[in-house]
């Protein structure tokens, strides 16, 4: 009877998880397998029957692509610089929104609103705000005697502007941090206060360790997102000027839709997949040292 019940439970488990397995297989495994297959061919289009196997030729061509190095460096900038800045920005916003001040619920709503606006609309707004000639930002700065700054047309400024844009739309991460902050037991703060710790010490000794699992989660999600950054770079400055915001995924898009070399685009995608997997693996390994799971200690 017990055995039958266990089998039945297993059956029900798989039945319930079936929609996910089907979706995962159809929309990830099959396209991924197809991509791997075509990456070793010279197919111009996915699904093409007119192709031959070219071995690692696409990967070699990928390295020879004149924009490969620059797009990879730009993407690494968005990961190495962008992810810590955006995560810190989220955390600071969450800490501010965790304060007990009048009307805090309203502030929380306001800070989350940009996340609800479609990214395309947000980018268009930012193009207007950051336009060097007619933008409201330069108009505001001119009050303080600061001359026109070409935010979107300068090679040195375009990446920081994109990172700032990410902080602007970081409501979801803020929400995660806010939930984590709310879950930190009050008595821990009372205990360190009795021990004579100030607010900064309490933050580093109590808050950060207690919300470290959430930080890890946000860092990993943000890292994956920034490795795959595309929309912001495309719409804000078409990856320019002079490839300053040309990301790796933008280059994949160009290979597929401008050069009509889908097999090359697939090779680039697989390279990126491997890179993201490697970085995520390293992050997970390193997390053992920095992340505190209350339930495990």
């Amino acid at each position: 009877m017990n055995n039958r019940l266990r089998k039945y439970d297993t059956f029900v488990f798989f039945l319930f998880i079936a929609p996910w397995i089907i979706g995962f297989s159809l929309f990830f495994l099959v396209p991924f397998g197809t991509s791997v297959f075509y990456a070793f061919t010279d197919a111009r289009l996915p699904g093409s029957v007119d192709y031959s196997f070219v071995g690692l030729s696409n990967f070699k061509d990928m390295l020879d692509n004149p924009i490969f190095g620059k797009s990879l460096l730009n993407t690494l900038y968005f990961v190495v610089v962008g992810v810590p800045v955006v995560t810190a920005g989220m955390l600071i916003l969450a800490l501010l929104l965790n304060l007990n001040v009048k009307g805090i619920a309203l502030y929380r709503t306001f800070y989350y609103l940009p996340t609800l606006v479609p990214i395309v609309a947000t980018v268009i707004i930012w193009r207007l705000v950051f336009n060097s000639e007619f933008g409201i930002l330069n108009a505001g700065l001119s009050v303080f005697g600061i001359g026109k700054i070409d935010w979107l047309g300068s090679e040195g400024l375009i990446k920081p502007v994109i990172i700032l844009l990410q902080v602007w739309i970081s409501g979801s991460g803020v929400l995660i941090f806010l939930a984590a902050l709310k879950n930190v037991p009050r008595h821990l703060y009372e205990a360190v206060r009795i021990d004579g710790a100030n607010r900064l010490q309490a933050f580093f000794k109590i808050t950060l360790p207690m919300i470290s699992p959430s930080i890890l989660f946000v860092v990993i999600i943000q890292t994956m997102y920034n490795f795959q950054m595309f929309t912001e770079a495309l719409l804000l400055s078409k990856g320019g000027p002079n490839y300053a915001a040309y990301t790796f995924v933008y280059n994949i898009y160009k290979s597929a839709f401008t050069d009509l070399q889908f097999s090359m685009a697939m090779a680039q995608s697989i390279f990126l997949f491997a890179l993201i997997s490697l970085v995520t693996f390293v992050l997970m390994k390193l997390s053992n040292r920095f992340v505190y799971y209350e339930g495990e200690k």
Binding site: Y8, V12, L15, F16, A18, P19, R44, L45, P46, G47, D50, P66, I67, R127, N131, S132, E133, F134, G135, G147, K148, D150, L152, G153, K238, G239, G240, P241, N242, Y243, Y246, K254, A256, F257, T258, D259, L260, F262
Partner: protein
Amino acid sequence: MKTNGKRLLSLFALVISVGVVVSGCGNNGNSNGASSSPSSSPSGGADSASESQKPAEKATITYSQWGTAEELQRTQELLNKFMEANPNITVKLEGKDWGSYWDGLTANAAGGTLPDVFKTSYAYIEKYAELGIFKELDGLLAENGFDLNNIDASLLGLHKYQDKQVSLPIDANVIVWYYNKAIFNDPAQNPKGAPVPSLEPTWDEIIDIATKLTLDKNGKNPGEAGFDGNNIVQWGMSVSPGSTMDWFLEPELWSNGAKLVNDDGSLALNTPEAREVLDFFIDATKKKINTTPAQIEGLGGQVNLGITTGKVAMNPGGNWNTTNFKEANVDYGTTYLPKFKEAKTVVQPAGMAIASNTKHEAAAYTLLAWLAGPEGQTELAKQGYSIPANKAASEAYISTVGDTNKIFLDAQQFGIISPFTAKKTDLVWTYGEQSLKNPLAGDGDLDAAIRDLESKLQ
């Protein structure tokens, strides 16, 4: 027992929900297929062979093109006339803007869902022909006795791939120079009384006019002492050679005896004649007579629509832009593109092709032959916005547009012959704008940009 009952209930709910999801997906799939598949037909999807033999059988085909809402509306009017003449064929129009049109076509090619008939540009013929998306037309045209003599051989040549006709030219877009008459006529906007440009202006003439029409907030122009270049409220002209290489920079280079690319596909910008042209535009922008890329962005982002803002006196554009000017209620004047030595321009013949995998070949051909033939071309000419490629419709065009738009026909005599090669496509649409946009506006090292471009085009 109670637990088992709950389990059964949850199992039942799950089966129902999975059923709903699966049937939902199924419906979606069907509806997607119906809307995007070129083979969808009320006749029940006759195969191409049977339809070829029975062209009178009812068929629904898709026709795709790029264009603004108004252009699509005009195409719909054309298609309505076609459907009146061919009641057995229903044509569904799919429209996109220029940028997303080509991505969409690529995605359609990848997904096997190409529209039966679609618009093509001479610049993309080779690129998409290599994907095998075009049906070869030679056989169909010969079988049906289509008169190709009415279409200029050079236009037909631009729509061939490996000597085979894969697309038929339908209209010839041409680039000219526009000015906003209201700015010239308003003493507040034209305090120096600059005259409108002549029909075939030189750049010296244009610079003189543009200088007088560039005003700072105090009404001073760049030729006057005390001009405040940081607070310009009106620009004499708006050109962006770095981001409009194919339709503006190239004819201007030819105008000065230079070229954009050499015959072997290498970059040709390092000759003295070419550098003279590049330096000229850099100088005009540095003197604040011409808009910078950031100013163009702030004025709406499209350099060929500058005069619609009321803040730009002159800009280059295509004959299709007259639609935009009318929509914006701009009273515009037209001249040939300004010249260095000789007047030059670009003629961009758009065409029409049939998908290689269409299941409605006969219906698709009927539409193509009508749109590119005398009947459809005359209807197109009567609308007055497009220059028909078929000479049988020339009279209809001239009698419709009168003298106002006759310049678009006349300008074609200055058209340069510069076919699109793979390297030129790379230069114009992949590398050129990134490298040259800022340097050609006076911001950045032009020599380094040219060296960078040369290395990328090797």
